[in-house]
Every structure is written in structure tokens, then in C-alpha cells.
């Protein structure tokens, strides 16, 4: 096990920027996410040398190169598997996975499923831009039906995956959602993700200026935001549109509905309970248009994390013993051949 140095001097956002030139397209949403992460890390307070960013392949996966931490830019879709080995080998490391909708949900979908099911203690940032950027604009598993791309010149016909719904189904214990440009809210979401022990799944709507520009504009554009974003907060009523609308539980149909708030009466409005699995599912699956996009910490209900359980079991079984190699090698029924007087010589 590594000797982990205690948290020493406070850091500044710049201390978290590596000397590598950032190579995303001008105007890419990734810049804003990088900035938000670098701004948040000093507040989180982990030492840089104990922090590891692990990524797969894609535009988002270049992220580790730009962080002044340990970083591993791996292969397409496999970051969760690599991170699992890192975290099992050294549970003291603070591991962040950076992935995208293609990397994490298409080629790496299986690893994502099992990462969430096992509940490894890592933060997973999924940059969702609903398109393949690095391979030049093909549609992705989160692209809306009808997305025209080089591989779907007449529009895609397969239905998209909802990342947070996938995560909930896979057994995630922390699910949050934010937007690349939400510089005020994102640090809070990242801090919550970090504080959560277990896999923290954070979907970040990220604008690809080149291949899918403004695909989220219907809720991210400044004038659309109030009516089309609902930032949830544990223990607070689910209100949006500057408090003029709220979410109500339609008990008869077990679904949500939007109600107008009259005279500040929020008695019909649901309170957000981030430990309520069913509510979180309803929130992540609200069809956009009829409903706003739910953002913030949608679900947080901690459970034992995988690497902790592995180590607890290892310690329980070994009970502090370290094995005797000689005894192990000669285990089982054996026999001795004596020197000088071998059998039947």
C-alpha cells in the first residue's frame, strides 16, 4: 500500500492544470467542464498525487492530460475496468472516471453496468453530447431519433438511451445531472459526487459545437432555462420557472404532472427526497417538453462500496495472518524421499 501523504498546503485552481496544451475545438463544452473541475478540486481538498483521472477514448477522454494529477488515458470503453483494478489495488486513491456517451454507453456499456452494480467508490463524469465527436460526427446511443449523421444520412431510427435511467436500473446509488455551462451549480454537484462513497454517476450535458451544436439549447439557452430546468434539492419542493410551476405526484396514474403555483401554495408540490429510488426514476425519465429537465443530485442513497467490501473480506479471512509460502507449497498429502537411501535402491 502506498504511504499516502496527508493533505498539505491548500491549492488553487491553477495548481490542478497540467502543462499540456488543451486540444479541444474552440467553443467546446469540455473547456467549461475542465474549468469547473479545476475550480472545485481545491475545495475538495484531496492531494493531487492521490488523485487519478482515468478515461477511455473520445473527445472527453483527453481530460486526464489536462489535470495536474495522475492520469490514465486508456482504451475505448474500458476506463471503468481499469479504474476497478486501480481502486482495488489502492483504495486510498481518489479515482475519477471521465467518459462520454459513446465510450461509456456504447462500446463500454457492459463495464458501466458492472461498475454501477458493484458500487466502486469512484466519481464518474459522463459527458453526454449525443454524438460521436472524435470520429467525426456519427450518431451515438443517446442521439435523438432522426439524427442525421454520416452513418445515418436519412436520420437515425433507433431509440436513444437515457443515461441516468440506465444508471438507476444498473443499481447506481448516486445519480446527478448538470450542464457544461452551469458554472455555479456544477461545483456543488461535483462536491456531492466526491463526498458520496460508492460510484457517483454524473451526467453532464455537453455541447459539441462542431457536430451537434445546440442540441440541448431547448433547455440550456439562457431564455429557456427557467421554464425548462428544474434544479432539485433534497428536502425542498420541486419547483421551477422561478417558482411558478411545480411537480406533483399524480397518485391515480403513478406519474408526475406539472402544476401552476397559485398564491405561493406549494402544498400540492412534491418534496425532493434524494433517497427515494422511485422518485428519482420518475425524475430522470420525465419526457422533455411536457416536463423540464431535472438537474442536480437526483438520487443519493449510499451502500457499501465494492473495494471496501473486498478489503473487509480479505481482512476477515486472513485475520491479520500473512501466509506461510513453504506450508502452502507442501499442502496436501505428501511423502518424503530420504537422502542416501532412496526407495528400493
Amino acid at each position: 500500500m502506498n504511504a499516502i501523504t496527508p493533505i498539505t498546503a491548500a491549492t488553487k485552481p491553477d495548481d490542478w492544470a497540467s502543462d499540456q496544451e488543451v486540444r479541444w475545438c474552440p467553443g467546446c463544452g469540455d473547456y467549461a467542464i475542465l474549468k469547473a473541475v479545476q475550480r472545485t478540486m481545491p475545495d475538495i481538498g484531496t492531494a493531487r498525487e492521490n488523485t487519478v483521472f482515468v478515461s477511455g477514448i473520445g473527445c472527453s477522454s483527453r481530460f486526464p492530460y489536462y489535470m495536474e494529477t495522475y492520469g490514465f488515458h486508456t482504451i475505448h470503453g474500458r476506463a471503468p475496468a481499469i479504474a476497478t483494478g486501480i481502486k482495488l489495488a489502492n483504495p486510498d486513491l481518489d479515482v475519477w472516471i471521465v467518459t462520454g456517451d459513446g465510450d461509456g454507453l456504447s462500446i463500454g456499456g457492459n463495464h458501466m453496468l458492472h461498475l454501477l452494480r458493484r458500487n466502486l467508490d469512484v466519481q464518474l463524469l459522463l459527458f453526454n453530447n449525443e454524438i460521436y465527436g472524435l470520429t467525426k460526427g456519427q450518431y451515438s446511443p443517446t442521439s435523438q431519433v432522426g439524427t442525421k449523421s454520416p452513418t445515418t444520412p436519412f436520420g437515425s431510427v433507433d431509440r436513444p438511451l437515457a443515461p441516468c435511467a440506465f444508471a438507476m436500473g444498473a443499481g447506481a446509488r448516486f445519480v446527478a445531472r448538470t450542464i457544461d455551462t452551469a458554472q455555479k451549480n456544477m461545483p456543488e454537484v461535483l462536491k456531492r459526487a466526491h463526498a458520496h462513497k460508492g460510484t457517483s454517476f454524473v451526467e453532464i450535458f455537453q455541447n459539441c459545437v462542431v457536430y451537434n451544436d445546440d442540441v440541448f439549447a431547448k433547455f440550456t439557452a439562457k431564455k429557456e432555462a427557467p421554464a425548462n430546468q428544474i434544479w432539485v434539492e433534497h428536502g425542498k419542493p420541486l419547483l421551477f420557472a422561478n417558482g411558478s410551476k411545480g411537480l406533483r405526484l399524480d397518485r391515480e396514474h403513478v406519474r408526475l404532472s406539472v402544476i401552476d403555483i397559485v398564491d405561493g401554495d406549494v402544498s400540492q408540490v412534491l418534496m425532493h427526497d434524494e433517497t427515494n429510488h422511485l422518485l428519482a426514476q420518475l425524475l430522470v425519465e420525465m419526457p422533455f417538453g411536457e416536463f423540464p429537465k431535472a438537474l442536480g443530485v437526483l438520487y443519493c442513497d449510499p451502500a457499501p462500496s465494492f473495494e471496501a467490501e473486498v478489503h473487509i473480506q480479505n481482512e476477515r479471512i486472513t485475520a491479520g495472518r500473512s501466509g506461510d509460502l513453504g506450508a502452502l507449497l507442501s499442502k496436501g498429502q505428501g511423502w518424503d524421499v530420504k537422502p542416501a537411501r532412496g526407495p528400493n535402491l
Partner: protein
């Protein structure tokens, strides 16, 4: 603790009136549900305790419980044991135990002419005969005239023996294998006591079953004593083999390899992380290691083959020794990740327990057809070290060697073993820790003398790069699969840099040849008319065949290659000292092609891909052909 039996404690037989063959081959064959592997395993243990050298060949179907009585559901276990050095499981059995018509049908042709077939006639009813494809009962015809046949109703005899214990019919018949084992123990003059102890432990929770099985064992033994008179059934005594002094046990290739990995990580001073996904015939390695937590072993059953190797790479990155294990199809899935380990120059041991291919192929049968895959099977110029195990016991040393090369050279190392080695058992002289020199891994914890952080700075001798664990203050850096700058490891696409890095990756692996033993001649002289070259599990039959050919006066030698990539530095010169080169392989000629490519020698192939190991005689014939 090990229970030790000293050879001179074993009751010596009234040996003088018994035949003393040098070696005997016995094959137990029955239905998958008849417990033949268990019978074979216990017979192996009693053989080992009697001090014989031995080699086994378990041969079972891929189906877990194939339909009863069918030919494809036959499970067999062959053992060759003797007072001489035993290198193979034997070309042809001297004794066949056939528990049903299907077992007889599929195995009788292998029995030596004149050999003894012991048959459970109680299973030869119309249904079983039909399932095996016998129109008439072969026990009633002259079909078995080439062999000595001893047919009796083992089923009825077993039922009779276990009657006092009040078991149901099905449970009673399950004791048949112990009855058969009892007979075999009598035949080869073996002590029953260790078996009785073993049964008592195995059925500790159900003493009635223990007693029933012991009764069956004793009944089989007693049957031998009484049936001896006048029949073909005879008692033999195989003397103990000469052996180096020391403590011995039997071990299978799977367990030996697992223990070698533990010892290797130990010698490197590292904890081991073993990421794997179940696959036949590699799973036993994961099973063994999963129990060894107190040796600093973490095992992880991943969601798939790719996650298995990736988790191992992650663990190596974090400072443990990452190991992954699979068989051919799984190795194919791991290919891209091996490239990542090559690019990021992290230590990694990859075990490939080969089986018949391509695709799903023959999951439970042996082959050595993944040599190309091991040496060449990745995108880009992606060299890694490839070494091979030749036998169950050799797997231990090969696993240690893989750990040494991986950590000293910061490279993936692939270990090739196969289904035959993995399942076969041999006596093993338990090694002493002092027999092995430690090779402690080194972690870089300070910047370079000039204050720079250079993860790709190298040891000038081995060309291994710096191993810097996350968690080390002041040495933060980024690595990945994109081409790296020569020293910093940062992304670099420059033409001259890629040329230089490709050259270095090649030079590093080529340079391993300087740190491995020179190629020796296993049997015979350093020059001559013919050299027979092998690798992996063909070691035994080739060695025996060459020894026999030399006894017959032929000028032939045996070269066995452990290091397949890079080859030992002197291999080319050595092969050129012979007029002819013969390469027996359980594939269509992969090593043969590599030798031709590397050394421009006229290597000739001898290929067998039936899922069965070579017979000594097959190689002897090929040697004779080459020397005509």
C-alpha cells in the same frame, strides 16, 4: 499441515512372487456421472504415495452432465506410472476399466493388444448397448478377442457390499467407483489406508456415506483377492521410482501455475492482483488463487475477458503485479488491452491455457495452436515476451519466470500452457524458497537528478521504464495508449518520435534474450543428423521418443524451447549444427514457421490436432522417416 508418508513406512508387499513391470498404463472410463475423474485422482494419490513416478491425462467431455450412457458423455482418466522416469500419460493403456458399453466402445481400440479390459457387465443391458451403438452385446461375441476380458457385474457387487447401510439404489450405485478403485488398489498392491482416511474426511458430515464407500472399496479389494485364481486378473507390484531426496506431493498444472504466480509475486516483493473471467480450461487457476488471500492475492472475477485484463493493468499501474488468465478465445478479446500494456509499458502476466480452436473449438481438449496469437496477435508492432510450460510441475517455475521478466522489463509476458498440462498431475518435489533468487521490483519515488519527471526514462540495461505509482508526491504524470514522447510520456505524434519509440519497444523485448538462459540440448549432442524441436506439453513424448531412437543407435537430439519470444540468442546457431530439424506440434506448424522465419532453417513439421497429446510412437515413426 501436510501429512507425510515415508516410503519406508509403506508396507512392503510379498514382492517376490509378483510380476514387477517397469511401468503400467491404466485408463478408467465411464459415464460422466460415474466419478471417473475422482477415481483417477485418488488412484494417482495412492500411486504417488507408493513412490512411483507418474503422469496423468484426464479426458472429459465439455458437457457437465451429458445424457447418461452416450458415447459423447464418456469421461476417462489415464495414468502412466512406474519405477522409471515417466514423461507422458502413456501411448496405450495396459489396463482399461470400462464402466458401461459407451466407455468400452470409445476406449477399447486404445487398449494394447493383449491388454486387460475390466468391464462392468451389469451396465450391459439393451438400453445402454443401444445408446453406445452396439447391435449385439460385445461380451457375447468375438469382438473383444484381441484383449483379455474380465467382465463381471460391478453394479450388483457394489449394491451387495453397501446393502447394510440402507442407501437408496441411486446412492448405492454411486459407490461403484470406490468398488472399482478398491479392485485397482488390490491389482497394484496398494495400501487402502490413505483412501479410507480421505473418505472419512470427505464424508465427515455423512458418516453413513463414508462407511458405504469404504465398504465398497474393501469389497472391490477383496474381490481381487478371491477372483485371482485362474482368471486374467493378476496382481502386480510396480517398484518405487528413483527420486531426488526431498518432500513430494502430486500437483496439477493449474495449481502449480497458481502457486508459481504467488511465489513470483512474493519474489518481486509485490502484492498480486488476479483479474480473470471463467473459461475452460483456465478457471482452476482463478479457483486456486481465490482462496489465497493471506498471500497478498486479490482475485477479481470480472464481467468479461476485457475487463479482466484491464483491471489487471489498472492494478499494475497502481503498483501491484497484475495478472490475467484465460484460454484462446478470451486471449483474443484481451488483444487490444495487451497493446495498451505494451504502450504504457506496465508489468503484466497473461496466462493462456490453450485449447482446441478456432472459435469455441474443443473447450476441454488440448492443442498448442495459439503460438501465432501470442507472438503476433495484436495491432501495430506490439512485441511482448512469450514463454511456455512443458509439464504440470514446470508450470511453477515458468510462472515465476513470467513474474521476473514482467517486473524487470516493465512488459506484458504471456505464459502458454494448455488444457493437458492444466489438468494433468505429476509428483512434485516441493521446492525450497532458498532455491529462488528474489527479484525485488523497484518503484521510482524521486524526480530525475535534473528535477524532471520522466516516466519514460529507462534503465540503460533492461530498457525498462520507470514505475511510478499514483500516490507518489511530486511525480504526477499522465500515460495512455496514444504514442508517447520519448522521455516524458506526453502525447507525441512526431514521425521521428514514433520511429524511436517503436524501435525501443522492439529493442527492449529483443534484449530480454540477454537475460534468459542459453538454449540447451535436452537429450543428445550439440550437433548431429537430426534435432527434434518442441515447446510446451509435447516435451514428454518428444523426450521419450528421442531417448528410444538414441537407444536404437540413431543420431538424434531433443531441443525443448521454453522461451518462444524472444528466442534464446544461441538457438539459431544450435539448430544449424544439425542436418535436419523436425518440429512436432499440436497445431498446423506454427513454431516450424517461426523457426524458418527467424533462422532460415529447413524445419519440417509433424502436426497433430486431434485434441489428444502425441503418442511417443508417433514421434518415433517421424524420426525414423526423417533419418531414412
Amino acid at each position: 499441515m501436510a501429512t507425510s508418508f515415508q516410503t519406508d513406512d509403506i508396507p512392503q508387499p510379498p514382492a517376490d512372487n509378483l510380476p514387477h513391470p517397469e511401468a503400467v498404463v491404466v485408463r478408467f472410463a465411464g459415464d460422466s456421472g460415474d466419478g471417473m475423474q475422482l477415481t483417477g485422482g485418488q488412484f494417482t494419490l495412492s500411486t504417488a504415495l507408493a513412490g512411483n513416478d507418474l503422469s496423468t491425462f484426464p479426458d472429459f467431455p465439455a458437457e457437465i452432465r451429458a445424457p447418461q450412457g452416450t458415447t459423447f458423455g464418456v469421461s476417462a482418466f489415464q495414468i502412466n506410472f512406474g519405477s522409471i522416469d515417466i514423461e507422458t500419460a502413456g501411448d496405450e493403456p495396459d489396463v482399461l476399466v470400462a464402466m458401461n458399453p459407451a466407455a468400452l466402445k470409445t476406449n477399447i481400440k486404445a487398449l494394447r493388444r493383449g491388454g486387460l479390459a475390466i468391464i462392468d457387465s451389469g451396465e450391459f443391458g439393451p438400453r445402454n448397448l443401444a445408446k453406445a451403438g452396439y447391435a449385439v452385446n460385445p461380451l457375447d461375441t468375438d469382438e473383444l478377442n484381441d484383449w483379455q476380458v474380465m467382465a463381471f457385474d460391478i453394479s450388483a457387487l457394489t449394491l451387495e457390499a453397501v446393502k447394510p447401510f440402507g442407501l437408496g439404489n441411486k446412492e448405492s450405485l454411486r459407490c461403484k467407483n470406490m468398488w472399482t478403485l478398491g479392485l485397482a488398489l488390490w491389482m497394484f498392491d496398494r495400501d487402502r489406508a490413505p483412501l479410507v482416511d480421505w473418505l472419512k474426511t470427505k464424508f465427515a458430515k455423512n458418516p453413513v456415506l463414508a462407511d458405504a464407500n469404504i465398504a465398497a472399496l474393501n469389497a472391490g479389494h477383496a474381490y481381487g483377492e478371491t477372483a485371482e485364481i485362474g482368471g486374467p486378473l493378476k496382481q502386480y507390484h510396480v517398484d518405487a521410482a528413483e527420486a531426488q531426496p526431498g518432500h513430494y506431493r502430486t500437483i496439477t498444472g493449474g495449481e502449480s501455475l497458481a502457486l508459481g504466480l504467488v511465489a513470483g509475486a512474493h519474489l518481486a516483493g509485490l502484492s498480486m492482483f488476479f483479474g480473470s473471467y471463467p473459461i475452460t480450461p483456465a478457471s482452476p487457476i482463478l479457483h486456486h488463487l481465490a482462496r489465497l488471500k493471506e498471500f497478498g492475492v486479490t482475485t477479481f472475477q470480472a464481467e468479461d475477458e476485457i475487463a479482466a485484463i484491464c483491471s489487471a493493468i489498472g492494478a499494475s499501474y497502481a503498483g501491484q503485479l497484475g495478472v490475467t488468465s484465460s484460454s484462446g478465445p478470451g486471449i483474443a478479446l484481451k488483444g487490444e488491452a495487451m497493446g495498451l500494456a505494451i504502450m504504457t509499458e506496465l508489468p503484466l502476466v497473461i496466462v493462456n491455457s490453450q485449447r482446441g480452436g478456432p472459435s469455441t473449438g474443443l473447450p476441454t481438449k488440448t492443442e498448442q495452436s495459439d503460438l501465432y496469437q501470442a507472438v503476433y496477435g495484436r495491432n501495430g508492432d506490439a512485441p511482448l515476451v512469450v514463454i511456455s510450460a512443458r509439464s504440470p510441475t514446470d508450470s511453477f517455475d515458468v510462472a515465476i519466470e513470467a513474474c521476473r521478466l514482467a517486473t524487470q522489463f516493465m512488459t506484458p509476458v504471456m505464459v502458454l500452457t494448455d488444457g493437458y498440462i492444466a489438468n494433468a498431475a505429476e509428483p512434485w518435489r516441493v521446492p525450497d524458497r532458498k532455491d529462488y533468487t528474489p527479484f525485488p521490483a523497484h518503484f521510482t519515488e524521486e524526480p530525475e537528478p535534473d528535477g524532471r519527471v520522466l516516466p519514460y526514462a529507462r534503465d540503460p540495461e533492461t530498457l525498462g521504464r520507470r514505475w511510478i505509482r499514483p500516490g507518489t508526491p511530486g511525480l504526477m504524470h499522465r500515460i495512455g495508449g496514444i504514442e508517447k514522447a520519448l522521455d516524458t510520456g506526453n502525447i507525441n505524434y512526431e514521425p521521428a518520435n514514433h520511429q524511436a519509440m517503436t524501435d525501443i519497444r522492439k529493442a527492449k523485448i529483443d534484449g530480454v534474450a540477454k537475460y534468459i538462459p542459453a538454449q540447451q540440448v535436452d537429450v543428445g549432442n550439440e550437433t548431429g543428423r537430426l534435432v527434434v524441436v518442441g515447446w510446451g506439453s509435447t516435451y514428454g513424448p518428444i523426450r521419450k521418443a528421442v531417448q528410444r531412437a538414441r537407444s536404437a543407435g540413431h543420431d538424434v537430439a531433443h531441443v525443448h524451447i521454453r522461451y518462444l519470444w524472444p528466442f534464446p540468442a544461441n538457438l539459431g546457431a544450435l539448430l544449424k549444427g544439425f542436418d535436419k530439424v523436425l518440429v512436432p506440434e499440436m497445431n498446423t506448424g506454427q513454431l516450424k514457421t517461426m523457426l524458418r522465419d527467424q533462422f532460415l532453417v529447413d524445419a519440417r513439421p509433424l502436426n497433430k490436432v486431434s485434441g489428444q497429446p502425441f503418442k511417443i510412437a508417433e514421434i518415433e515413426t517421424a524420426i525414423a522417416e526423417m533419418l531414412k
